[in-house]
């Protein structure tokens, strides 16, 4: 049954949720109960003032009762069905399900969103657990104390008499461990809370620089003239190494801004659209500079967000500007299938790939990558390459039109079992 024929079913469900009798609702909106009955069983179409009146009595927006009102809900339900994989959900009848059982549909969609959120948390924590020694030590403390409590309490819970000396000792141990667990859990929670907000908990210098650039929206108005970077700009960075990295990054920004002034790039974008090759020709500069510049433009110049990743020849991530839907691991160890890394095997050859990242969102992106020598060439010296990848969102109307290359975020949280690029098993396949 199509969605537009189910307005009546939705009215019925909403009426029952509101605890109204059919006759009461009919009276309130000035129609007969038998006519309302026909509407509720989808035997009469409804619209206009009557629909508005019914919605008002039921305390919902009219759009909740009509076609399209459940679009987001239905999209979430479809996503839940796809994620469930082998489960044979009646996807073709999802409209009917949402119409007939809006409450249950909401519950399912809510649970699906919650699972997605928890998976993202696992992803973040897993990433941090691997690379953050403080977090690893804190969790070790918590788990060791939990092990002690579990072992001790199991002994105490066993049937039969325990010698008084042992019993007292285990009670004491349990008391100590409980206190220790409370303290270590509190410290861990504080650490996790602080790490989201504190300036002091930036971990490695690169992270501190990323946080600094992100806080400025990746755009520095003061550098748009191409003037040298004042040292004061990076004085807020706490670590010396971060200040050095930040200074280099901002100097590069100033150079890019001078080569591609904001007014000129705005005009070039109007004329050529999002075509980095054309922009590179217009400004007689290389693609990495164009990519960097595009990623630094404010919303009034470029109306949509773009992502950017830079790595060195070892694959270590040097800079990341995240883009919603395209997960970037915090500390490198990214998916080797990213065009960013493919470009390293074909230096100076621009690569463009439509990719879809495995996982919850499964959104598509256009990834444009190129690897370039970091320094000027010298005789008898191997060039050292870096690679840069611009990540462009793909309009939903365009998705699914071509075969997108499936990539992951990092092996640890990638659900794809069979992959020639896999480095290590995924925690997702281990029951998380």
């Amino acid at each position: 049954m199509s969605r537009d024929t189910l307005t009546g079913s939705r009215i019925r469900e909403r009426r029952l949720i509101a605890g109204l009798r059919q006759s009461d609702l009919a009276r309130d909106v000035g129609i007969s109960a038998s006519y309302l009955n026909l509407i509720e069983h989808n035997r009469r179409r409804i619209g206009g003032k009557l629909l508005v009146d019914i919605a008002a009595v039921l305390g919902v927006e009219p759009s909740m009762l009509t076609e399209g009102a459940e679009a987001a809900l239905i999209a979430t339900l479809r996503e839940a069905a796809v994620d469930a994989g082998a489960v044979a959900a009646e996807v073709s009848r999802v409209d009917e399900f949402a119409g007939r059982f809006p409450g249950w549909a909401e519950v399912l969609a809510k649970e699906h969103r919650r699972v997605a959120s928890l998976e993202r948390t696992v992803e973040t924590l897993s990433d941090r657990l691997t690379h953050d020694p403080h977090l690893a030590a804190s969790l070790h403390e918590v788990l060791s104390t939990a092990a002690s409590i579990r072992s001790t309490s199991s002994i105490l819970a066993e049937p039969g008499e325990l010698e008084a000396e042992w019993r007292d000792r285990f009670h004491r141990n349990l008391d100590q461990d409980a206190e220790r667990l409370a303290e270590s859990s509190k410290a861990l929670v504080n650490y996790l809370d602080e790490s989201e907000t504190s300036e002091e908990r930036r971990g490695v210098p690169l992270e501190e620089v990323e946080a600094f650039v992100a806080a400025n929206g990746y755009h520095f108005e003061a550098l748009e003239t191409g003037a040298p970077v004042p040292e004061a700009m990076t004085q807020g960075l706490t670590q010396g190494a971060a200040r050095k990295i930040g200074q280099d990054l901002l100097s590069q920004y100033a150079v890019d801004a001078k080569v591609m002034p904001i007014a000129d790039i705005q005009k070039a974008l109007s004329k050529h659209g999002m075509d980095p090759i054309a922009l590179s020709r217009v400004f007689r500069t290389d693609l990495p500079s164009v990519f960097r510049r595009l990623a630094s433009l404010p919303p009034e110049i470029l109306s949509y967000e773009v992502g950017l990743v830079v790595c060195d020849a070892s694959g270590s991530i040097l800079f990341r500007k995240p883009l919603v839907g395209f997960a970037l691991p915090r500390h490198g160890e990214a998916c080797p299938l990213w065009p960013l890394f493919t470009a390293l095997s074909r230096p100076l050859v621009p690569i463009r790939r439509r990719v879809a990242q495995l996982g919850r969102t499964a959104a598509e992106f256009d990834c444009l990558a190129v690897a370039w020598p970091q320094d000027m060439p010298e005789f008898d010296r191997d060039p050292v390459y870096r690679s840069i990848m611009l990540i462009l969102p793909v309009a939903s109307a365009e998705t699914g039109q071509s075969d997108a290359q499936l990539v992951g975020s990092s092996c640890r949280i990638c659900p794809r079992d069979i992959c020639g690029a896999r480095r290590e098993p995924s925690i997702l396949s281990e029951g998380f």
Partner: protein, 126 residues
């Protein structure tokens, strides 16, 4: 003669609980809490089985295991490794280093007892 187990663990309350469990199960339990001289202690005590924590002060359980397996006569000594780090790479490293069994915290008492009994039974059948 009592079967002897050497428990190398720096968490005193875990040590106490495991010592109680194994003593009740008929084991003679020797304990040690420092990693730096653990290999010497194992050599001197000559236990039937070792329970080894991964994260120890002085020297990690992984290093101790590697050094132990280099010693003559210690190649087959059953070693049960305990760790709060359950990552697959730690497990793989421990297996490469010659661990007999790998157990993640928090474990149950039954798991520890079963593992110790199994490892000892396997070792005595060899």
């Amino acid at each position: 003669m009592n079967r002897r187990v050497l428990l190398i663990e720096d968490e005193p309350n875990i040590t106490e609980a495991i010592r109680f469990l194994l003593t009740r199960d008929g084991w003679q339990v020797v304990t040690h809490a420092d990693g730096s001289d653990a290999v010497e202690v194992i050599s001197n005590e000559n236990p039937d089985l070792v329970i080894l924590d991964l994260m120890l002060p002085g020297k990690s359980g992984m290093e101790i295991l590697r050094e132990l397996r280099e010693l003559e006569g210690m190649e087959k000594l059953p070693v049960l490794m305990l760790t709060a780090r359950g990552q697959s790479r730690d497990r793989e490293m421990a297996e490469k280093a010659g661990v007999s069994r790998f157990m993640t915290k928090p474990f149950s008492n039954a798991e520890v007892l079963t593992a110790v009994r199994d490892l000892h039974a396997q070792a005595t059948q060899l």
